[in-house]
Symmetry: C2
Subunit: 329 residues, 2 copies
Amino acid sequence: MVIAVDASGGDYAPQEIVKGAVQAAREHNLELILLGDRATIEVLLAQEGSAAGIEVVDAPQAITCHEQPVQAVRGKPDSSIVKGIKLVRDGAASAFVSAGNTGAVLAAAYLYLKNVEGIERPALGVVIPVSDGSPFLLIDGGANADCRPGYLLQFARLGNIFARLHLGVQSPRIGLLNNGEEEVKGSSLTIEAHKLLRESGLNFTGNIEGQDILKGRIDVLVTDGFTGNILLKSLEGFGDFLKGVIGSALPAGAMQEAAMSSGNGGLGSMLRRMDFSEYGGSCMLGVNGNVIVSHGRSKAKAMRNAVRFAGQAAGSGLVDAIRRELSVI
Amino acid sequence: MVIAVDASGGDYAPQEIVKGAVQAAREHNLELILLGDRATIEVLLAQEGSAAGIEVVDAPQAITCHEQPVQAVRGKPDSSIVKGIKLVRDGAASAFVSAGNTGAVLAAAYLYLKNVEGIERPALGVVIPVSDGSPFLLIDGGANADCRPGYLLQFARLGNIFARLHLGVQSPRIGLLNNGEEEVKGSSLTIEAHKLLRESGLNFTGNIEGQDILKGRIDVLVTDGFTGNILLKSLEGFGDFLKGVIGSALPAGAMQEAAMSSGNGGLGSMLRRMDFSEYGGSCMLGVNGNVIVSHGRSKAKAMRNAVRFAGQAAGSGLVDAIRRELSVI
């Protein structure tokens, strides 16, 4: 299986990206196509030792993280993002992974891979850990800031398939993020979406409030991309804040002891679970191809996990399952 | 100064409410009017010792936390919430504090106190702690799930006055919660609100993303009530989650040591800062009267802090300042 990786995207590109991708390829028997500046990548690959099963595709144009996505994608056909997405479209790669400009990756996927029939707006699915160790999928993590009720129903259907294939849940419990548990509470968007979900045939368990997100009650948490993005980034900021405070507050011995505790209830395991680099990426759901968006702060560990996840997504037949199940609705 | 307190509202009413309110009244030289079942309150007051400066107003009707707010308020004129708000309207109390049905408190305030001229939608202001110890005001914490751009500008103006009077900031830095820093990013709501804020004459410092909320960059964080509510409750859930995990993961000695550490960077101080009961209440801003909504889980400590805060709000002339400054715009 071939995974295309954007070696130019992210704060620590290309060094950490190449390092992590090569590690994942070795550990999980994947082939790689690395996209970026050919000469630089070849120097880095030489440092990593054997480059068997690794191809380099030169992509001389760079899309920076502040560029307007659609303009950048249209104006830079030789960028790593556009070339990587086209490898997936053309069947030369089974998945594309990028830690670069998220908007540009989404725009390129939307333009060149197209939506699955029945899906008006592809969305970002993000796996989130919870206290008892069983993660859930948040969808939409930020692809669509303005949503209609019908989009949220489609996010739920996408999340339902993802949770079956990747979280090992037979009948995923779908919750709707809301500012109240009762069905009459909410914004005009969530009140309408609640009705659609209730009649959807999905295992819809109702509204979920902020304080209940991490309690393990759901397998898929449906929300609009604006709220989802705020929530994700807030949890990340909270994790950073926490690590800083814990590091400065605890006696060194206790910190070490806590960090090494390995049970699911352990502080160390909690800090790991709050660490985005353990998960490595969000999955763009609803386009005709596997596209993994990794965090801009990704170092080698995060990239290794993102590439491994890309391999799992491609191997599970996720896109085919989405096409099969959603086109008949 | 007289503070009216809803002795019937909240999970731990009336015992903890009465206990906390009486403590605050003694410590801060406040007079109280307690609203609820007269006989029960009088028994509780007898347990607390001297009841000098405390009046009881019988309010035989109860509004439960699941009732539809407007119907409840219209249908129960003898409830503690309606009677308490009317005490403020009639000048018999300087503020009203309730841990009961938030929607009903908001509805009663809206109906009987009316908006300040120039404010279309009153909002909930919630003081949030940050890592360096200087808190900020989140507005709207949940009063308005559906917002227009103009409402967010009004929230900013309300928050600006609150931060000057209660957070001790001369020129409050106003941030707009958004899913990207750049002004072109956001939902249609936040993109429009950004333009209004930029031209408002306020000290608008731009968009704030989720990961930067707790970094001490702003004094007022403006958002719609849906997102604000999700954010607040998520932070609360995260705090609960954290306390549970820390409690189970750390050796008892380390936990005690950490909990007793008193510096601003200490774990104990962080846990206290994440504890809603330290702050006690949200402030309804934009109505003609001081109304404090306390958490439904409030015990005596939270109620003590809420009543103290009600006294401070009334003493600061917050409502007069809002009326004076916003009616001339």
